[in-house]
């Protein structure tokens, strides 16, 4: 077993490709555990960020600056009474949240955190992710149906209709990014394709961006940007978040598919929703924002710039530690707050320690990719929270109108134009040949 452990360390493949089952297991635990932990952190970040947008503070009492609030919420949900409505289909009622969580987390095994840092790299990676997240819709319908009440049923039908319609636009936007992977020209406007070269594999898509010296969001500006924009809107609608969150809005009559769920079962739905947010954000990052690539890989090339950028993760973590320690020291001197102050100082020192660890040369080289990927995914999560704070809600028919009548034609148009533009050298040669 030790041989299995060490033999992988110098490979340049993901554990799944290398066939190293021990490391596959380790990666699965790290990814799933990390995402679950991240969901808790995201809960705290959402409450605090939303509060700051609304000029208030958010949770402050449970732990210093509300840092223990997610734990308190989780404990509360676990100890709640498990209510099942009378007449509910017990088996389906039980299995709906399980299904949603299962599909939500299974999509994460192809998410590339680095060149070799994915659980596995399927050659149909992106198709796999889309397929599994479509299966998640079944869980929502199961939840609504098994609740034996017409409000959850209506809510789940609406939710699933919304998710299905925005998947079409999402898929077309993804296809236009995949079309770009087969281009051979370098730079923002380099065209020309090699037939049969495009790829669906997530790691290969990022490698294609690296090879073409441009992030796909800037490729053939504004085409890549438009595809990115369409995906950004569709992904918000896909995960049932504001401004497309009518099915789960509190001020509407129908409270959504998870009305009858309480306690642990409801928390599983929330877990799946946040994991879905992470999944679609990682698709957006991988396809358009260059995945794990550091910023300006071609504008500022060379090993010295590489070295300079490799210090950024450590510096960022140290900055976070500094902010934590400063906030801890700024706390008012009150006997009740002493425990909070000590806890926060401890946390700050721990984060500083982590930051210093990131300066060790061996760690620095390996962690850079993961850091940039997580930063970009974090940017998308921040966008989610920002949208929720700012925009009113679409009514359901307006929501469907946007999905079918606005995004779909736009995505189709972008796809066609991307294809044509990419083929420009071949097309011009063919036209010249016609007139030769």
């Amino acid at each position: 077993m030790l041989n299995q452990l060490t033999s992988y360390l110098n490979s340049n493949q993901t554990p799944g490709q290398a066939g190293n089952m021990l490391w596959v297991l380790i990666y699965i635990l790290v990814v799933f555990g990390g995402v679950s932990l991240f969901v808790m952190v995201m809960n705290w970040v959402e409450r605090k960020a939303l509060a700051h947008f609304q000029i208030r503070l958010g949770p402050m009492r449970v732990g210093p600056h509300g840092l223990l609030q997610p734990i308190a919420d989780a404990l509360k949900l676990f100890t709640k009474e498990d209510v099942m409505p009378e007449g509910a289909d017990k088996a389906i009622f039980w299995s709906a949240p399980v299904w949603v969580v299962l599909t939500g987390f299974t999509t994460l095994i192809v998410v590339p955190f680095g060149m070799t840092h994915a659980v596995t790299d399927m050659n149909i990676g992106i198709l796999y992710m889309l397929g599994i997240s479509s299966l998640g819709v079944l869980g929502i319908i199961m939840a609504g149906w098994s609740s034996n009440s017409h409000y959850p049923l209506l809510g789940s039908l609406r939710s699933s209709a919304q998710m299905v319609s925005y998947e079409v636009a999402m898929g077309l936007a993804i296809v236009s990014a995949i079309v770009m992977t087969s281009f051979t020209g370098l730079g923002m406007y380099g065209a020309g394709t090699t037939p049969g070269v495009g790829t669906l594999s997530m790691i290969e898509i990022v490698k294609a961006q690296q090879a073409q010296h441009v992030w796909f969001v800037f490729k053939f500006f504004p085409l890549g940007f438009m595809a990115f924009g369409i995906f950004a809107v569709a992904m918000v609608a896909e995960t049932n978040r504001a401004p497309f969150d009518l099915p789960e809005a509190e001020s509407e009559l129908v409270a959504g598919f998870h009305t009858e769920y309480s306690g642990l079962r409801w928390s599983l739905f929330m877990l799946a929703e946040y994991a879905g947010m992470v999944a679609v954000s990682s698709i957006a990052t991988t396809l358009w924002l260059g995945g794990w690539l550091r910023p300006f890989p071609n504008l500022l090339p060379g090993s010295t710039w590489d070295l300079a950028f490799s210090f950024v993760p450590g510096l960022t973590i140290l900055f976070v530690a500094a902010v934590t320690i400063r906030q801890a020291l700024k706390m008012p001197q009150h006997p009740a707050l002493r425990a909070n102050k000590i806890g926060m100082l401890g946390l700050g020192l721990f984060i500083a320690f982590l930051g210093l660890v990131l300066f060790i040369p061996g760690v620095r080289v390996r962690v850079g990719d993961i850091f940039w990927f997580c930063l970009k995914v974090g940017f998308f999560i921040y966008l989610y929270i920002w949208y929720r704070a700012t925009f009113p809600r679409y009514r359901f028919d307006q929501l469907m109108k946007v999905g079918w009548k606005v995004l779909l034609p736009l995505a189709l148009g972008v796809l066609i134009v991307t294809g044509v533009v990419g083929l420009t050298p071949e097309l011009t040669a063919w036209v010249k040949g016609l007139f030769a």
Binding site: L253, P392, R393, R395
Partner: protein, 382 residues
């Protein structure tokens, strides 16, 4: 696992609702986050379209009019604050003016100017509450916090002036009890300069926002003729194209001395009502600035006897409260206590228009329409 059964046999609805295969009866019960108080709306739905509504009110009835018959005129004034608790100053002003008309006295000019300043500040505060809650119903969470933060400044001014933020009891019969405090004019002008860009921010968040426009344009249309037939007043009436504002049509207090405009809408939909109220806030700022600059010196209380015994008679006096025409009908029988205090609340009359506005709309629009009518259940039920 125990099963709780609920007996639903006595949940019936006055025989007006028949559970038809095509028609669903939905109860938007008294406890609901969007009904602005305890209002029960029974909707008859055909799929998602609304065929009819029925409002059931009375959950906040406190018998204010009956209380009025057992209190003296001075003692009744604090009760008027609690009707439209969002705009307490206007309520008090209407009542004091009605009694002053019965007594045939007029408040001195300085008191009138102070009353106008406070009433216009209260109008801005009431519209801010309306804007925050209406935006929240439609899904935009943040304007609520912004408007409430700005309203805090108004409430601080009220607290410094009369001692309470919400149930102000600011005025007395015959004038004002409290003299303006040290630095009142400066603070009010500073507030005006503070809040003007903030109203611009609310507009930046909502007015051109495509989601907001789609949710509010063409929703809840009420034309001018229907408004007049139903007796609807206030911004709802003005947004339907009828230029009627009691401050200009039947000027009371010192309003005749100020120069301001009445914003009027064209289509009578929710978006127009939103625009009318935003513009009213700007016009209120205009009035406040003029009033503060022209604040005359002098007494603040007219010569009113300690024990108020109006001559036998009756009077109806109405003012332009932020929500519409607030009217007081007082019947005096010569004693210290009124014989009848009848209050015409604007929200009560405006609520009748709900049925007409909501026919044919989708379920999600009911919430928007209730919000745009700007009802306060304290006023509707009294």
């Amino acid at each position: 696992m125990t099963t709780n059964r609920v007996n639903t046999d006595d949940w019936g609805d006055r025989g007006t609702t028949v559970l038809d295969a095509n028609e669903l009866v939905l109860n938007m019960g008294p406890q609901h986050p969007s009904t602005h108080g305890v209002l029960r709306v029974i909707l008859k739905l055909d799929g998602e379209k609304i065929n009819g509504t029925e409002c059931v009110i009375g959950y906040l009835h406190r018998g204010v009019e009956k209380i009025g018959e057992n209190r003296t005129y001075t003692q009744f004034a604090p009760y008027t604050d609690r009707m439209d608790y969002v705009a307490a100053v206007s309520n008090g002003m209407g009542y004091c003016e009605a009694v002053e008309k019965l007594l045939n006295v007029e408040a001195p000019p300085r008191a009138q100017y102070i009353r106008v300043i406070m009433a216009e500040l209260q109008r801005i505060a009431s519209h801010q509450v309306w804007l925050g809650t209406h935006a929240l119903d439609i899904g935009a969470m943040t304007p609520l916090f912004y408007t409430f933060r700005d309203r805090e400044e108004i409430l601080k001014i009220f607290e410094k002036y009369c001692g309470a933020r919400l149930t102000t009891h600011a005025f007395r019969i015959g004038g004002c009890q409290y003299e303006t405090y040290e630095g009142f004019e400066k603070e009010v002008l500073k507030f005006c300069d503070f809040v003007e860009p903030k109203i611009g921010e609310y507009e930046a968040l909502l007015t051109t926002n495509r989601i907001w426009v789609e949710r509010t344009k063409g929703i809840g249309i009420l034309n001018g003729a229907d408004c007049k037939a139903l007796g609807v007043t206030g911004p709802v009436l003005r947004a339907s194209g009828v230029k009627w504002d009691l401050r200009k049509a039947q000027p009371y207090e010192a309003y005749a001395k100020f120069d301001f405009e009445i914003p009027v809408g064209d289509h009578g939909d929710t978006y127009d009502r939103y625009l009318v109220r935003i513009r009213e806030m700007y016009q209120s700022l205009r009035i406040i600035r003029q009033a503060v600059e022209g604040l005359p010196e002098g007494p603040i209380m007219a010569k009113v006897p300690k024990i108020i015994k109006p001559p036998v008679g009756e009077i109806y006096h109405s003012i332009e409260a932020p929500k519409g025409e607030l009217g007081y009908f007082l019947v005096s029988d010569g004693s210290t206590q009124p014989y009848r205090t009848r209050i015409r609340p604007p929200s009560f009359v405006n609520l009748q228009a709900l049925d007409k506005m909501v026919r044919g709309m989708l379920m999600a629009d009911v919430v928007a329409v209730i919000g745009t009518l700007d009802i306060v259940l304290g006023e509707v039920d009294r």
